[in-house]
């Protein structure tokens, strides 16, 4: 008797959300909104437990595809916005590097927060379908959208070259904090991949 009851009650608990496109769309929307808020560093509406549950239920009901592309698109557009803000940011040289590194840190923090929210997708849907994991997705977006994009690439190379020249002039200890900038850039590039670091750190010496 009780087993029978359990069957009818439980069987369609999951189908409510599965069959209902509004719920699916709502959940997707909540996650993409969260991506936006995280990049804007506005955490008031980002409730981890709730968002995780939404992402989880999407993947569980075989809507991983939609969630993945929604997250990917949202991250891409946020990174584009960051590029825009960088393009207008200050003159070249130190202030540019400082701005770039600050934005990079914001980006990595955001990616890790997003990864936590869609962790269930990252652990199940992503390996099963051979997609790029969220962390690598974030690195890739930054690499191709920011560091390698035409305007920023040139300014970065130029700024690093100037910075190095200044260091040599002043002696490394001359300007406090300026050594950190180059080190920070190197660290960022290494994280993007050994070849990226190579590509940038070799370029100035070859040209000069």
């Amino acid at each position: 008797m009780s087993a029978r009851h359990q069957f009818s009650a439980a069987a369609f608990r999951w189908q409510e959300t599965d069959g209902n496109p509004d719920v699916v769309a709502g959940n997707c929307k909540a996650v993409t909104n969260a991506v936006r808020d995280i990049y804007a560093q506005d955490m008031t509406n980002v409730i981890f437990g709730d968002l995780y549950r939404r992402a989880y239920s999407l993947v569980l009901h075989k809507r991983g595809e939609e969630l993945y592309s929604a997250v990917e698109a949202a991250m891409a557009s946020e990174v584009q916005a960051l590029v825009g803000s960088l393009a207008v940011a200050g003159p070249s040289g130190q202030s540019f590097l400082r701005e770039l590194l600050a934005t990079w840190r914001r980006h990595t923090a955001a990616v890790s927060a997003i990864r936590d929210i869609v962790m269930y997708m990252d652990r199940t849907f992503v390996p099963a379908t051979g997609r790029t994991p969220v962390r690598e997705l974030g690195l890739g977006l930054w690499r191709d959208g920011v560091v390698r994009s035409g305007r920023i690439r040139l300014r970065l190379v130029e700024a690093v070259r100037l910075e190095k020249a200044r260091q040599e002039e002043d002696g490394v200890v001359g300007v406090p904090g300026s050594g950190d900038l180059v080190a920070g850039v190197t660290e960022m590039l290494t994280e993007l991949g050994a070849d990226v670091c190579h590509e940038f750190m070799e370029a100035p010496t070859v040209s000069s």
Binding site: A3, A11, G49, L60, T129
Partner: protein, 568 residues
């Protein structure tokens, strides 16, 4: 003798055959890694022997499937050359690369159970412990070997992501200036000495410095490592120090075993028949938790902790009248540092356990550090809320997290526990629940079996899914007459491939119509063909017949659904 093969030689020139219905032996022989992973995940015994007295690893080696062999070895297949099974594997290995693979796994101890493995990772995630671990490994062996061991221990050279996200240790010991980081709850659970000390002298200490000359850093480190991993690994020349420290820590059984080993080693030179044996066997001493009596093992120790936590959690609702002072004393005893609120019920538990067992809780705890204000009366512990979950299911989940097992589960909880296991990324829990549920499925009606098929497909519980598919395939006509089965057909995605791809060469290499597995109806057809179909060239006709039957049933189901709409 060294022949280096091109890496390309290792890849088969013909695509590997899939054996969707095969057992672990067939999967190993065919090199079907997906199937093998599924069987291992479902708890197949990796060292089982078939009726030819052969183990799966033997078939993988014989047929030259390096990936399958590696998978079996990682799951703990025996491969030491001096064992019966290991010797056969070595002898049968298709090429030298396989032999090298076998050799490289020879010295590795078998994999740990999920609980000790998770706690060991938590221990080694503390930077000081990790540095000490790598240091000791380097001393003991060549660099390449150390790197392999480090990899086996679960971390590569760079692992920034996990290092940034550790459960902060709450006590640091210094022996001769070298630090060991640890968590009080684990130490107290395993040793009466630590329990007493943390109640008295060390109550509010963050660090403890030892200056006794007799105390060896290696010995204390290895003992604390044992507290987490339930496996003692120590260099043989440090055994005396270990014995002393076991005695001080009042780990009596362990002390006895270590002393026995010391005696053994004292006389070993006289017993060994060959010098070589001696050299090989005498550098490291490894003691598995299973050698201890059950009450001294890690799961029982943590079970006691869990009991006191649950007892305190109960007090929370029923005995609010207990004087605060008394409550505080019993709270100190369970050393809880996290509160989880489920439906008005408050559970006291431990960050180190929850975070090391479940990546979800790890993220949740570290994300909530910002706003850990005690909104929960006078309790100054961080508090989480778990929604969508019953108190009973949460209690069962805690039981699993602390002890690696679940006893006496009400089958009504099974569905919820599958959900919990998926949601909180506690995948091994699914298997435990599946094993408990399986005996209950013997007597259920066809309608309920359909329900379980659907659930196990959603939550990816392969053992239950296989079981249901087997029953349905063998009693297909019964199910065809069940309305719930026909309704289920409508909710499932249609079978994937066309006739031509599916069945023309069901077992020929490359006949993989759909690379992503998981279509229920495809798997059902496969099972049905296995059970009912005619042999060889007649098989296609049988398959076509089965497809017709499915189509017809779906048609009936649609009409029934329409009727329902009209009447309802």
């Amino acid at each position: 003798m060294e022949i280096d093969l091109d890496p390309e030689d290792l890849h088969p020139t013909v695509p590997l055959r899939k054996v969707p219905g095969g057992d672990i032996f067939e999967a190993a022989r065919a090199g079907d890694c997906a199937r093998l992973a599924l069987l291992l995940e479902a708890g197949a015994n990796v060292n089982a022997r078939d009726r030819w007295d052969s183990v799966p690893l033997y078939y993988a080696c014989l047929a030259g499937h390096a990936d399958a062999a590696r998978m079996l070895l990682q799951a703990g297949a025996v491969c030491a050359e001096r064992t019966f099974d290991g010797d056969r594997c070595h002898y049968a290995a298709l090429n030298l690369d396989l032999r090298r693979l076998l050799k490289s796994f020879e010295a590795r101890p078998p994999p740990l159970a999920p609980l000790p493995a998770a706690l060991r990772a938590a221990f080694l995630a503390c930077p000081a412990n990790r540095a000490a671990f790598l240091d000791m490994m380097l001393q003991g062996s060549a660099t390449a070997e150390a790197a392999a061991l480090a990899e086996a221990a679960g971390f590569g050279p760079t692992d920034a992501a996990s290092a940034a996200r550790l459960v902060p240790p709450d006590i640091t010991f210094y022996v001769g200036g070298k630090p060991i980081e640890a968590h009080r709850v684990i130490l107290c659970a395993r040793s009466p000495f630590f329990e007493k000390k943390f109640k008295t002298d060390w109550k509010d200490r963050k660090e403890v410095r030892f200056s006794e000359k007799k105390l060896s850093f290696t010995a204390l480190y290895n003992l604390i490592h044992f507290f987490y991993a339930d496996r003692l690994e120590a260099p043989v020349d440090d055994m005396e120090g270990l014995s002393i420290i076991c005695k001080v820590c009042k780990c009596e059984e362990l002390h006895r075993l270590v002393d026995k080993e010391i005696v053994h080693h004292r006389f070993a030179p006289y017993k060994a028949t060959r010098k070589l044996d001696l050299m090989e066997s005498q550098t490291r001493f490894v003691l598995q938790g299973q050698s201890l009596p059950p009450e001294d093992r890690l799961p029982s120790a943590l079970q006691r902790v869990l009991h006191s936590c649950l007892a305190n959690s109960r007090q929370e609702d029923y005995c609010n009248s207990v004087p605060n002072e008394m409550r505080r004393n019993s709270y100190d005893a369970d050393r809880a540092d996290l509160i989880v609120k489920v439906d008005e019920r408050v559970f006291r538990c431990h960050q180190v356990i929850l975070a090391s067992r479940s990546e979800y809780f790890k993220a949740r705890i570290s994300r909530s550090v910002g706003f850990l204000e005690g909104n929960n009366e006078s309790l100054d512990l961080p508090c989480l809320e778990a929604h969508d979950m019953s108190v009973e299911a949460f209690e069962k989940m805690l039981e699993y997290m602390y002890t690696d097992k679940v006893e006496h589960m009400d089958p009504i909880l099974a569905e919820e526990l599958f959900d919990v296991a998926s949601r909180y990324l506690l995948f091994p829990l699914k298997r435990v629940v599946a094993d408990l549920l399986l005996p209950n499925l013997v007597h259920v009606s066809p309608a309920e079996l359909c329900h379980w098929l659907m659930l196990s497909d959603i939550y990816g519980v392969m053992k239950i899914r296989e079981y249901c598919l087997d029953i349905i395939a063998c009693n297909f006509e019964t199910f065809a007459h069940t309305r719930e089965f026909r309704a289920l057909l409508l909710t499932l995605p249609p079978p994937s491939a066309t006739d031509a791809l599916r069945t023309t060469h069901p077992s020929a290499p490359g006949a993989t119509g759909n690379s992503e597995q998981g279509n229920v109806l495809d798997d059902l057809r496969e099972k049905w063909l296995e059970a009912e179909a005619a042999e060889l060239d007649k098989r296609d006709q049988s398959a076509a017949q089965f497809d017709k039957r499915l189509e017809l049933l779906m048609f009936v189901a649609e009409r029934e659904a329409d009727d329902d709409d009209h009447t309802g």
